[in-house]
Symmetry: C2
Subunit: 414 residues, 2 copies
Amino acid sequence: MTPAPAAAGRNTKSAVEGSRLGPKGFQAAGIACGIKATEGAKDLALIYSQAPATVAGLFTTNRVKAAPVLATRRKVRRGICQALIVNSGNANACTGEQGLQDAEAMAHLTAGALHLPPQHVLVSSTGVIGHPLPMERIEQGIPSLVARLSPLGFPDAAEAIMTTDTRPKIITEKVAVDGDEITILGMAKGAGMIRPQLATMLAFLLTDAQIEAKVLADLLHEGARSTFHRITIDGDTSTNDMLLLMANGEASKRALHAQDRRFRPFQEALFKVMDHLALAIVRDGEGRTKVVKICVRGGKNSRAAERLAFRVAHSPLVKTAFFGQDPNWGRIMAAMGAAGIAFDPRKVSIFFDDIMVVEHGVHAPGAGEAQQRRVLQQEEFTVTIDLHAGSAEASILTTDLSTDYVRINASYRT
Amino acid sequence: MTPAPAAAGRNTKSAVEGSRLGPKGFQAAGIACGIKATEGAKDLALIYSQAPATVAGLFTTNRVKAAPVLATRRKVRRGICQALIVNSGNANACTGEQGLQDAEAMAHLTAGALHLPPQHVLVSSTGVIGHPLPMERIEQGIPSLVARLSPLGFPDAAEAIMTTDTRPKIITEKVAVDGDEITILGMAKGAGMIRPQLATMLAFLLTDAQIEAKVLADLLHEGARSTFHRITIDGDTSTNDMLLLMANGEASKRALHAQDRRFRPFQEALFKVMDHLALAIVRDGEGRTKVVKICVRGGKNSRAAERLAFRVAHSPLVKTAFFGQDPNWGRIMAAMGAAGIAFDPRKVSIFFDDIMVVEHGVHAPGAGEAQQRRVLQQEEFTVTIDLHAGSAEASILTTDLSTDYVRINASYRT
């Protein structure tokens, strides 16, 4: 996570505005096949690599796992794939044996159309839980989806994986590695049910670098720790979260290894893509009017600091105060106190951006409410909590809780 | 908690409608002294017993404890008291050394006016955090508060402890014990920041029975376990929660002991009062349009069942679905899966009242959506989750999450 949320946005460029080309050898497509109720809304996406790619994945920690999560997790363990088919509008979760068969059928149909072995085709779904997939529509859609595969098809695919997202989230980064020009493309959908541990949404990362599956897995874990695992909107965890990283090696002369010093720029570029997508997900949080960085420092250990940060970020009273632009630091203290973490309230300082509002656990002298309110009137700001108990820290990004969040979720079917 | 939330309301009578008299030897008063911004809003309450009373208390588990919580907890340990002064509009929390002095000063001023030792006067506060108490107003208010003490003053006191509550919560129960007519009066304030473990609000229980402090403490713990600890609105825990039980013995010829068979009817009446107040708090939850009982049964152990029930009750997505009257059971499954409790999703059944909506973890055959929606259109209903893994169960009461909840908390200062 970049230090200031606002800065992160400026430093990354969207593929929609920048290059429309993905990594070498990758193609994509996105079409409307009638899964979503809205006429013409794209709901079926395909990503294809002309050569087999190594792959790593992170999957939801929810005990209730959707059929595509179970199917894809099994395939990813083998470390190799060549295509990914994704539908939105239906999660294929809590669909029992039929759901598992449908997920497999989606892979088989796609594999047939692409002349690939079915075990090389991954499946992902997002949308409403508990309804069987409309397999007829998917079956009818797959041939035209395959026909539309194109190196320019990524924006369409990014659009086809959206649910309550208000905009597609896609970014391309290029990095020179030992004379090779490596491209990394990332796309994600988020908006609701965003929460750390684990994957927190759908995000697909593609690169033409050549990297072993084992190394990819390490990269993905490390990158997620400071990006996708550090964002939260409503504290709910989806049944369908999936984060995949595929590398087809089409732009590399030789494989990148973790020990290799050429590895560092690649890793930086990859984490930049992950950071961008994580921030884009928070920025497009359901009904959000604010993006707030909660930074806990001076903790005894980083786990405790993180737990405090998440407790504050999940407190409905804190989140509604952000929505109301109310510098109500008492709710932050109350939320911290309920985190089940030992700290001395009399040592706590709290800052809104660089304005100290609490010192030694009480109202800081000289912190005028008007000045505090001006910080909270910004669209993005940072709340820093200093425990003065050690040197550990943790930062997370979250949103406010707005009347629109309630309206969206009272009427939308996830 | 009574089996059906609706039934519990019908079986209890409010003191405002019934007898206005409290237990023998108790008097109360409530006045406006200018702590609340609203002109004429009552904000200072006093409860007084003509004889010293035994007392027991439960206090917030929040690590950030308001000054009156610290002061009163210390006094309650001695097991004896004779008066309680409560203000609303200001929590006297996160107010440092000054706050502790102010809490003591409130007790001293009250003790002086009533000619009592200060250690027999308890203090309680609720309202905005982080602002010093307006001690001048409180000091000016105390003489007229004392002057208004009356056996008919309980409704005024119940009104004076309210914050965002829309109505006072007060009830009187009478029970015959061995020829003595014992009275139990309870009053509470709730509305927001309601969450189990611990006390969850302000609630004061008074009786003219004669009971040792040790026995009172056991009673309070046992009663809270099935009432105040089993309700939740937004999952936030206040810095000021306090539940007190006082017994002055004025209507008893001899002391009640736990082993005594005369004890049973008294205990039942007390728990009925606690149950009534807990339900009244949920019914008056901030912005709530629904009261929902979440019942998890068939669990391996009751702790796991309870944790699952609370996870479902705290899920913003589940709560907004209740607000939207949307029979979206997928969100219930997703919330359960994120509780960190082991269960087999393929064994789960879910019922809305008596309509089965999920069987073996998937959509139950024959459960029409219109039929399900009719259950959710009621103001109060029960969601039963059967894990089919054992015989443990847990039930809690909660509310929906409405646009009004957000509006209230975006503008109100707790």
